[in-house]
Each structure stands twice: as C-alpha cells, then as structure tokens.
Symmetry: C2
C-alpha cells in the first residue's frame, strides 16, 4: 500500500532529527515552561568556546577564519551544534548536512595550511539557506510533502540531489560553509512558517509567537544564533518579517541585484512582482560582507536577471562622509498607512528611531505618499494571477491539505487573462512613477535640499504575530510593489510595563480590529520590535550605510 | 453625418502636408522615374549651406552649436527644410512642428548670447522622434486614425497636447530642438511602415523597397539626412531594421537603460519582452552623444524601470585600450540561423566584416549557440498574449481595417492564461541562461581567453524588404528575447554585378522560399546592406566602442 502523505511527512520529519548527532539531542520543554530559549537557556548546552564562536558576528568571524586565527572546522562544528539545539527547540530546519559541512571545513583548513591564504572572503563562514536553494546531496522540499525525493516535484530529471543553485556555486567559491537549510511555510505565501514536515516554527525569544515567514526558519535559527548569516527570499516581506520578529538586520534588495537563478520557487513565472533573495544577520556589517562578496563573483554573467551593478563604495562613502562632516540626513516617517495602525510597541519603536535621529540634528519629515492601499490592491492581484494552479499542483502531488495560513492561495479559482495581467502591469508602473515623483518632490520641503534619504516605517503592525493571526501584510508588501530597497532595523523589545494596549481603541476596519485584538502585553512580553528603513530602488549600499548608522545611535 | 475613417485619415494626411511651408513644396516624381532620391537628387532643392549643415553628423553639429559657431536657428531651419523634402518624397512624418522648433532654437541662441554658454550638451541639435513620444502642442496617433484628436485613444484626459514623455523632458533639458515626429505602422508590429494616414514609407536609397519598421519614418528621414539623430523603439527589431535598411547606425539598448516612461505603446503591460527606446544616426559618435547626455539626466530618478547605471567610460576605454596596444578582440560569427538563409548581399556583408577583422589580426570563431528557433517560438507567444485585444480596440475606435502587414495581430483570437504566461516567462529565463552559459564557455576556445566580445550576425535575411514581403524576423528578434545589446553596422550596398541570386537554391522551408524568391538584384540595386554586432545584456558602451572601431575598418 502506498504511504499516506502523513507517513511521508513523518518519515522526513524524523530523518531531519536523525541527522542530529546523538550527543546533541536535548529535551524540548513545553512552551509555557520556557517561553524564551535564547541566552542562558541555550547556553546550558554549549561550551564557553562554542558560545564565543556562535555569538560572534559574521563579519568578525571572517576576520578570524581568513587569517587562520580560527579554524573553519571548529567554527563549523560550533554552529552545527547550536543549529541542532535551535531545531529541537523551534522546528526550524528542513535539511541537516553537518557531516558535509565539517568535511568542507576540513578541506578549507588544509587549503589554508598549504597556501597560507583563505579560499575567499567568506572562508570558513557557516551560512544557512532557506529551503529554496538547491544544494547537492540533499533535497529541496520547500515544505511540500509531495516534493520529497523529487526535484521541485518532478522525478527523473537528473537534477535530484546534484543540481546547485547559482548562488550556492558562488558562495562555495567564496569559501562559505553550507550546513543546513531552513524551514518555510509550504507555498511560501505567509508570514508564519508552518508545513506538515517541520510543523510550526517558533520564535526563540518568545515561543508563543511566530518566528515569521516565509524565511521563518532563517529567522528562528539566526535569532537563536545557530547561524551567523543566512539567505532568505522576499516577495511580500519574507526576509524582513523573520528579521524583524527575531531582532535581526535583514535586507530586501531590489530585483536584479543578487542571483535568484536556479532556485525553487512558488508561482514561478509571475513577473509582475518578483521575489528577491537577500541576507539576514545580527549586524549590518554581516549583510554587507556577503552582498559585497557575492557581487565580486559578477553574478550578472551567470544569472540573466542580475544587473551589472558592482558594489558601490561611493554610495556608502557619501553617507559616512556626510555624517562625519556633521551633515544632516533627511528621513520621512510613516507612523501608519491608514489601513492598519501599528500596535503600541511598534509605535514606540518608530518614535524611538525618530527621537534618536532628531537628537543628532537630522531632519525627520512626515511621509504622506500616494495611498499605499492602491499599491497593495495590485499586489493582491499579482499574487493571485494563476488562480492557485501552482499551489494546488504542488499540494496535490501528495494529497496534503494546505496549512491554514495559506488556504487562501489554494482556494483561489480563477486565472487572470493576459489583458488583465497587462492592465495590472501598467497600473503598477504608473503607481511606481507617482511614488517616485512624490519622493523627488520632497527635495522641495527638506532642509537638506535633497529628496529624503530613507523612510522610517513599521515592517508589520505587530512585533510578531501570534500563531494563525498574521492578518496584514501592507507595510512589508508595499516595498515589493515599488521594488524599493528596505533594511530591517531591530529597535527594542516589548515591555508590558510601558506597552499597554490602547484603551477604547476604535478600529479602522475588520483587519485593523483583528490586529488590535491580537495584542496582549503579557503574551508579547520580551518580543523583538523592529522598523524598516526604506530607500529607493537599487540603493542597497546607501541603505545599509544608513541602517548601520541608525543602529549605532539606538545601540543595536 | 459622422466622418468616415477614410475622411479622418485624409484630413490628417493633408494637415501634415499643410504644415510644410509653401516655399518648400516640391513635386514627388513616380518611383520608377526616380528610385534613389538621396544625394544629388535631394541636393537640387537645398542651398550649399543647408547641405553642409544637414550632412554634418550630430556629434559634429554640437561642436559648432555648443560653442556658438553655428546658430541653433540656422541648423534647425536647414533640417526642417530637408525633413520637409524627405516627407514629400517618402511619406515619413506624422507630426510637423517646425514653427515651435524655430522658436525654441531662437530662444537657445538668445540664451547662448546672454550666458556665453550652451543650454546643455545637445544645445541646438535637432532630434526627430518616432510617433510614440508625446510632445506638447501636437498629437500622438501612432498611425491609428482613431487616435486623432485623443490622448492614446482616450478623450478628456487633460493630457491631450499637453503631456510630454519623460525622455522629451530630458532632451529639452539637454538643449535638443524637437521639430517632427516620424511615421510608424499602426500597431508597431511590422518591419515595414504603413498606416492609413501617411501611407507607405519608402526607402530613400531605393524607393522600390521599404524604409523598414516600425521606426521606419526615422529610418527614411535620417537616411535622407532630414535629421541628424532620432529615437525609435525596438521590440523585435524596430530600431535596427530601419537603421540597417537605410545605411545607418542604430542601437537596441537593453531594457532599463533609457527612459520609456510616458510613451505611447502597443500591448502595453506585456512584460515578457519589453520594447526599448534607442537612437539611430549616421555615426556611432552621434549615438554615444545622445545616450551619454540622457544618462547625465539620471533617468533612473524619473522612470521606475531604468536601472542606475551611469555612462561607463571604463567599458569604452577597455576596448580602445586593448586595440591601441595591439590586443586582439574575439568575435563570433553567425552566417545563418538555420531557419532562413540570408540573401547573397547580406552574406557578402557578413564576410566583408569578418575579413576586415581578420586582416587586423582579430579572432573570429563560429557562433553555434542553442537553437534560435526555440527562443523565437517564445517571442511569438509573448507578442500574442492578448489575442489581439489591444490592436483591435485601437483599430476599432475608427473602424479602420489593419494594413496587410499587421493583419496577423488583429486576427488573433485567444488570450493566454496566467499559467501559460508564467510558463513562457520561465522558459524564456531558462533559454537566456543557456545562451549565457554558451557565451561564457567561448572563453574556453577563444585565443583571447575571454568570452567573445561581440557576435557578427545578419539583422535581417534581406538588405531591405519589398513592400508586403517582410517574411522573417528571427535575426532581429532573438536579440529582444535575450535582452542583449545590439548595434547595427552599415557595411555595403547591393551590387547587381556581384550579388547574383543563388542558382538552383533549394529552400529550407516556406518562409525561406519566400525570402529567396523576393530577391532580384535589379530591384535591390544600390540598397544598403548592414549587419548587427550583438553584445551581452547592458553592454551599450562596449558595443558602441566596438561598432565604431569596426565601422572605421570598413570605411563607414
């Protein structure tokens, strides 16, 4: 008798656990017994040396590994151990290949010993990858039971466990050590991470809450410092949501900056709003490190959608030069998009950033752009073009039902026509142009005489979502529709003593009501609170420079 | 009684002629009486000074106008006169606004007199525009009778005769003088220029042949030197075809290099293969001049689809540096795409370029890429997505039938679904990747150790098409599917004494047969013969540098 999808999911679930060495196995306490598993809780299972290594940022790690001060093997083993703990506490991994990683690390150590130089700028740096990257010797399931044992749902392609995504090739060239792939919600179309293989991925800082999604496995893993830097993808917030919910820095680059070539995806070929790939990490310097390294590989020669734009130090220098000479930056601030108001801790985070900047003499002006709702209406269309055909086909391979968070996409029933798609494309272009003109026109009101340098806005209306209650994507998705650069900036943590729920709040609409009602300071206590810094299209260097500066001001 | 479409077309036709000053009116001789109207034929109507001015390339003109040596007004009047002659002989203009141009030129002369400096790098340079650009005070019909008196077919938009396309704004900033808009085939979807307003646009060098399309008015006008440089658009060859058929240089830049914002278009919102805008001119230096000038306007701040890639002098310097040090370039050569063989004069042009390069010690290797047919199959789909909805709507406004050249698009009847479009997008991306890999791999066989620098290939199988016989677009369209940079290089002219028809040729297929049978050395005598130099995506500076060098070698 053929296995049921439940049996296949369970077998894969168990295989992931089985890949964790016996000596690293721990007991997972009930959530309410141990809400926060970061810091001292996870430290109990680690040696001093492992803690030292895993609590070093990626940019600092490579200073040690590329100079031979730290061995790649030791670094790799430390992160493998901490990742194993993270998975057992949070359900964040879909593929575990520690043995291959240790073998790669040993090879690197030998290379360094022989040549007295590193393999590349990422020599000995463990990097985690969302389970859309193809890596040899392991599967890519993207959380679909029906993809187990296949290449993107297809059998006999010759690519199974052999083919590698372009970025994987580049990361290996650069000396990175790959050791695990992280959990996603099947379909990728939600801000929570849930699938029938790993189950629900928890937030390490507050396990009552989601780790975010769709790069939620990355968020949880890096949030617990089981990885120094990892790559996710973002079509409506999927890099930035897990970054924000886990107190991390994360960047959504514009389309065509980093290579997506050869990665698995949902609704591939929907070309109105493209998913992008980008890193999450505990420091801006770590994000810069990996982006700069990847661009040194000239990805435009290997991915037809990448533009030939090398790393532009001049963009960074402009910002740092300005600041070091006492010059002023000008920021826009969007407190609310008028659709769903942010909850009290998010409001506080926005205010804290504004105050920190104003205290340094920078200018912050209200951001009152063309209505975000109009932009979001188009994004809803773009993501529903295929009427659920792709998602149902993937789920149908095993017969598994959609998890509740993505039922919307599985239940769509009408495909858009070519004319409807063309009309959406035209509308999106027009709205981009209007937004661009608004941005340009801020030069007329700013004291700098320049258009605003970046916009401070919430990334989500909540610090994180409670399971099953991620009800509004407007703040993150507007960036995808505009194809802007956005960097998530961790700001603070929920403090039940000051982040009271709003008394007598009268909701704007049903969605706003749902978000309002999901807030409970007791439940959210301690959760990370972040904002995003939004820049224009293809302004990655500039936005990273600004995020690093602002992060420094607020002590992050 | 409402006017018929014929009456409306005729009224517009007459209004264009009426805009030509009385003293510039001439009699148009029958085609067979005067096949070639270039050179001495057109000179009879021009003064020595007018000939001097209009036979100066754009890059040389601005040396005079930006230094005050030549007055903008005199230059403008000379080109207006020659453009008026061109239109009467070739039917190449859809909008004539000489008075506005002279007024602008006078203003520029006053500006120069007062400030002792030019308005910008294009000060006093007349530039012609394909009738997709919106220019204040005149219409944009794109050859559709139903668009007369409207804004893109719509009334009461408030944009009629007021709105200007983004590139028009930039050209004015730069000091260009706009004076006419040029004929297109309605729908833009053919390599011949024909519509019910202007009628059929003739080739000035050989009026038995087409001037090309869809930027055919540009080709004819610049071919007769009624404009020093003009802008067309290209989705399947529409810049390069008129450039090639008129002995001009023309560049198809990659998508996102130059601003298309605010231009009229066909099937707008079809996002799989995008139309691009680019210049045609009598010298490479003229193309460089206008592109470099436009990029100095930072179009990426005003057009959401333009990438922030400033003019890269380093790309040019690499080529010129290499050549000046006696270094070698490596070219691929594609004699035939295996679908339709080029006619004898085109074969000869390819051979002459190869020989000229080899004589200088450059390397030319066979180009044997993944089959072009597979790429072209996808382009056929992309251009048929909407099942003719857009084209029928535009024709339906007036009730005019399609001209025979575009009947295919008007007669499509099935819209693609979202899933079918997505599958096409995925396939195109995969084919781009395969082609890219092929290109990269030429580094393994070239003597330079680098991938080939450019590929020499036909732009069309014929030197020009005979009316109604443009049967094959594969050579030009493959570049659009790949989004590559391509520069048309004029090489030679048909010589009936050496370009015999192939005796006993056995055609590859029906299309090949049609092309073969359309050739008659007597009819084609004197026609321009060109090739294209194809480079990778976004390599405009490099390809212009190469085209200038190769053009120099063959004496063009």
């Amino acid at each position: 008798m053929a296995e049921s999808w439940q049996q296949r999911a369970e077998a894969k679930h168990n295989a992931i656990l089985a890949a964790i060495p016996e000596q690293w196995r721990i007991t997972n306490p009930p959530i309410e017994e141990q809400v926060d598993v970061t810091g001292s809780y996870v430290h109990q299972y680690l040696s001093e040396r492992e803690i030292e290594i895993t609590e070093t940022t990626a940019n600092e790690i490579v200073k040690m590994t590329t100079t031979g001060k730290w061995k790649a093997e030791e670094v790799t083993r430390a992160f493998c151990h901490r990742a194993a703990l993270a998975h057992q506490l949070l359900s964040c991994l879909l593929e575990v290949f520690f043995d291959a990683a240790v073998a790669d690390a040993k090879f690197q150590d030998e290379y360094f010993a022989e040549h007295k130089k590193p393999l590349g700028p990422l020599h000995g740096l463990p990097i985690s990858l969302k389970d859309q990257f193809h890596v040899k010797d392991v599967e890519t399931t993207m959380g679909y039971v029906g993809w187990i044992g296949t290449f993107e749902g297809k059998s006999g392609t010759g690519k199974e466990k052999v083919f590698e995504s372009e970025m994987v090739r580049e990361l290996r060239n650069l000396g990175a050590v790959l050791y695990c792939k992280t959990a996603v919600p099947h379909t990728l179309m939600t801000g929570e991470t849930n699938n029938h293989i790993t189950g629900y991925t928890l937030n390490p800082k507050n396990r009552r809450l989601t780790a975010g999604g769709s790069s939620g496995g990355e968020g949880a893993l890096i949030g617990l410092k089981g990885s120094p830097v990892g790559f996710g993808t973002d079509i409506g917030g999927s890099i930035r949501i897990p970054a924000a919910f886990n107190g991390l820095y994360g960047i959504r680059p514009s389309v065509g900056r980093l290579p997506y070539e050869g990665m698995a995806n949902s609704m591939d070929g929907q070309n109105s709003i493209l998913s992008v790939v980008g890193p999450l990490a505990t420091s801006v310097a770590s994000l810069r490190l990996v982006i700069k390294a990847l661009l040194s590989q000239q990805p435009w020669l290997y991915d037809p959608l990448v533009h030939e734009i090398p790393w532009r130090t001049s963009q960074e220098d402009e910002i740092s030069g300005l600041i070091s000479k006492g010059g002023r930056l000008c920021f826009g601030v969007l407190g609310s998009d008028g659709q769903v108001n942010p909850l009290p801790p998010v409001r506080r985070a926005v205010d804290e950033v504004v105050q920190a900047l104003e205290a340094q003499g920078h200018e912050v002006i209200p951001w009152d752009p063309p209505p975000h709702k109009t932009l979001l209406d188009e994004s809803v269309k773009a993501l529903a073009y295929d009427g659920g055909v792709d998602v149902r086909a993937a789920l149908g391979l095993s017969g598994e039902p959609p998890v509740e968070q993505v039922a919307f996409y599985a239940n769509l029933d009408k495909e858009f026509t070519a004319s409807e798609i063309a009309a959406t494309n035209v509308k999106i272009r027009q709205l981009k142009k209007e937004y661009m003109d608004y941005w340009n026109n801020t030069a007329k009101v700013s004291k700098t005489g320049r258009p605003v340098d970046a916009v401070i806005m919430p990334l989500a209306p909540f610090p994180a979502a409670r399971p099953g209650r991620y009800g509004y994507y407007g703040y993150s998705t507007v960036v995808n529709v505009l194809d802007y650069t956005s960097v998530v900036l961790p700001v603070t943590n929920v403090n039940r003593k000051i982040d009271d729920a709003d008394e007598g709040y009268s909701p704007l609409n049903e969605v706003d009501k749902g978000v309002f009602e999901s807030y409970d300071p007791e439940i959210f206590e301690g959760a990370h609170v972040s904002v995003q810094l939004v820049g224009r299209r293809l302004q990655e260097e500039k936005l990273l420079a600004i995020a690093e500066y602002v992060g420094g001001l607020i002590g992050k």
